[in-house]
């Protein structure tokens, strides 16, 4: 329970930061002020300035936007395609279709995800959109597997049998009876994939294959600062902590949600 609250607080904090950045940031995140470069944290610049004199707090706030947008869309792609595929595979379990869907999933799983993401962005050009697609594709098999596994056990339930006796087809049963009962699991998996998406986006930006300048991104900020971190540690620390705390927050929230939703794990939570 404590984890859930802490995780949700951290998550909400970063989402708020991203939302506020649409209407207000302390400074223009793209304004260069070379005279003010590498200033340590102060009252004027809470998180200090980077090597081009940009305000780091503003950049982190705008960068949160990129991270969250990439992760949300990537998870959306994963849920939007993976869940129907998983439901379909479970509904037709044992059929050729099931085999085709699940073996294609295995195929995608077989490749290291980040490597393929780098390949996709290298081929189609580095941009936030390509990063989203690359990360999204790897979310599809994750959701397809989780959904199929949970759906398979639901298909053996008597209420599904009762629905079949009522003449309902596989599609209708999947939507009416299976999907609502796997939502719990999807919420939990979604939060975890969300945090992995943020990490992946940071990693891609770090190697220069994510969002392109001047759009700020946490991974890019880390990459920019790596040669200077002995000189001005704060320009590495703040984006680093931003990534760390967001991912930590999302993971805690995901774990907490699972405990909350799963009555079998709820006992110790009193």
């Amino acid at each position: 329970m404590r984890n859930l609250v802490l995780g949700l607080c951290l998550t909400v904090l970063f989402v708020l930061g991203a939302l506020v950045s649409f209407v207000w940031t302390p400074y223009d995140h793209a304004a260069l002020e070379i005279a003010n470069k590498l200033k340590p944290p102060s009252l004027a610049h809470w998180f200090g300035t980077d090597h081009l004199g940009r305000d780091i707090l503003s950049m982190i706030m705008v960068g949160a936007r990129t991270s969250i947008a990439v992760a949300i869309v990537a998870v959306g792609i994963g849920i939007g395609l993976g869940v129907p595929l998983g439901l379909l595979a479970a509904a037709k379990s044992g059929s050729l279709l099931d085999e085709v869907i699940m073996r294609s999933n295995d195929l995608i799983f077989a490749f290291p995800s980040l490597l393929i993401a780098i390949m996709i962005t290298a081929v189609f050009g580095p941009s936030a959109v390509n990063a989203i697609i690359a990360i999204g594709i790897f979310n599809i098999p994750v959701f397809a597997r989780v959904t199929r596994g949970a759906a398979l056990s639901l298909w053996t339930r008597d209420y599904v049998l009762a629905a079949r006796v009522a003449g309902k087809g596989a599609l209708r049963i999947s939507v009416e009876h299976i999907l609502p009962n796997v939502t719990n699991l999807l919420i939990v998996q979604g939060t975890i994939q969300f945090s992995l998406g943020i990490l992946a986006e940071a990693a891609l930006s770090y190697v220069g294959l994510g969002a392109q300048p001047p759009t700020p991104s946490w991974g890019r900020m880390l990459a920019d600062s790596q040669t200077l971190f002995m000189l001005a540690p704060h320009i590495t620390l703040f984006p680093g902590f931003a990534i760390l705390l967001t991912v930590l927050g999302l993971n805690l929230a995901g774990d907490g949600l699972r405990d909350l939703i799963d009555p079998k794990l709820r006992r110790g939570a009193r």
């Binding site: 008597d158 209420y159 009762a162 079949r164 006796v165 003449g167 309902k168 009962n181």
Partner: protein, 523 residues
Amino acid sequence: MSLLRIDNLDLDIYGTPILKGVSLEIGQGEIHGIIGESGSGKSMTALSVMQLLPEGSQCRGAVHLDGVSVLEADEAALCAMRGDAVGMVFQEPMTALNPLQTIGAQVAETILIHQDVSRSEALARAAKVLRRCELPPEQFPLSRYPHELSGGQRQRVVIAMAIALRPKLLIADEPTTALDVTTQADILRLIQQLVREDGMSVMFITHDLAVVTGLADRISIMRHGAVVEQGGGASLHHKMQHPYTKSLFAASSHQPERAVPAPDAPLLKVEGLVRSYPAGRRSLFGTAKRVLAVDDVSFEIQKGESVGLVGESGCGKSTLTRAILGLEATQAGRIYLGGDEVLSGGQASADVRRKMQVVFQDPYGSFNPRHKVDRLVSEPFHLLGRKATAAEIDEALVSVGLTPADKHKYIHEFSGGQRQRIAIARALIIKPELIILDEAVSALDVSIRAQILDLLADLSERYGLTYLFISHDLSVVRSITDRVLVMKQGRIVDQGPSEALFSNPQHPYTKSLIEAVPVLPGA
């Protein structure tokens, strides 16, 4: 000198009182039956003796096992006691064994934990114990895994684990509830025999009065966490005083009142039905063998008739049900319902389907937990291609003894018996002609079961329903059916009018089934 003595035991879990002043004594070599319906606290009493209570539990009172106060003992002493002085047998043999360990290793483990012996010696002793439990190592080598054994054989392994160290007390928590009648009879005989040989004491927990009256020396009847009556086994039902004990005995041998229907026209007609499954392949290129689950089955059910289908688990009852419901393709044979063929072109039409509905065994798994009762109950209206009206939902709920206000609730707000009423309402709502009751009362307590049986008898009269009553419980089938079909290994081996079949069984298999049923004295 009693072996186990429980004095005035109170148990709270997170402040909720579970047991209230439970006192009982079990003497050396005595079998003590504890009977009660679900939630009466019988399992918690057993767990208190073992001190294996769930988190948040608080015990007051005294539990003395062989002179040692269990409530005051520390965890190390308790660990030494569990398995050594007290053995336990659980209800579900499927989950009580570790599927990844051989049976020999699991029995030997108990010995290794408590005694300083070598592994090979422990295994040798495990083999001996398994032989005592009628699993001779020549037929059942120690290297077998639980999935290679049947339910009854697994329960023997569980018993072997419990008695491996010759405990003074054996706690058996519904050890035969998950088993077929014939297997149940074997296991009960085995427990009795072991008790006689070892002079063990047994705490035998069950909800089934008939099982325990023939077995136990003394009986305690529990209700709402308290012992309402205690007495000597077979004599208890003669001398019973407490109204609850009386009602429990009455409910166990309850016979709903039914009018005998006049034979009409055949409603359901099954002709030469065959259903087979592909079995696992033995080799990569070999053709897969097929397992015959239903083997050339033919029968008829008249309109308004109530027919029982009995058989042990794995005999093909459930497969037959699914075939009749048009849920599975069949390999040969035809099924007609009211003159129409159920499966035409591999698909059951809505027209045929609307004439039959089904009620399942498990009141907890039969409903989507995320829908409200009105939506659950009106699901079969899909077959009519329209939504149920509020009046129709209300009528269905009222007819099974619930109120119209219940339709706005979720299923978790109802007890097992109420859920089974809702399941019947769901089957009833589109006014089908045939209702298949697949072990519909097996999961219910005796008093609730009696109510549901009355309800079913009443409904069949009121709506002219035809029942196909599938059950492994012969006494229930006898009380509610006109005719019985006995199924074994996919075939119908015997059939006849219920009374005649039960009072004067002809077929040897029917005889063995009926002889295996424990009977209440005087019933």
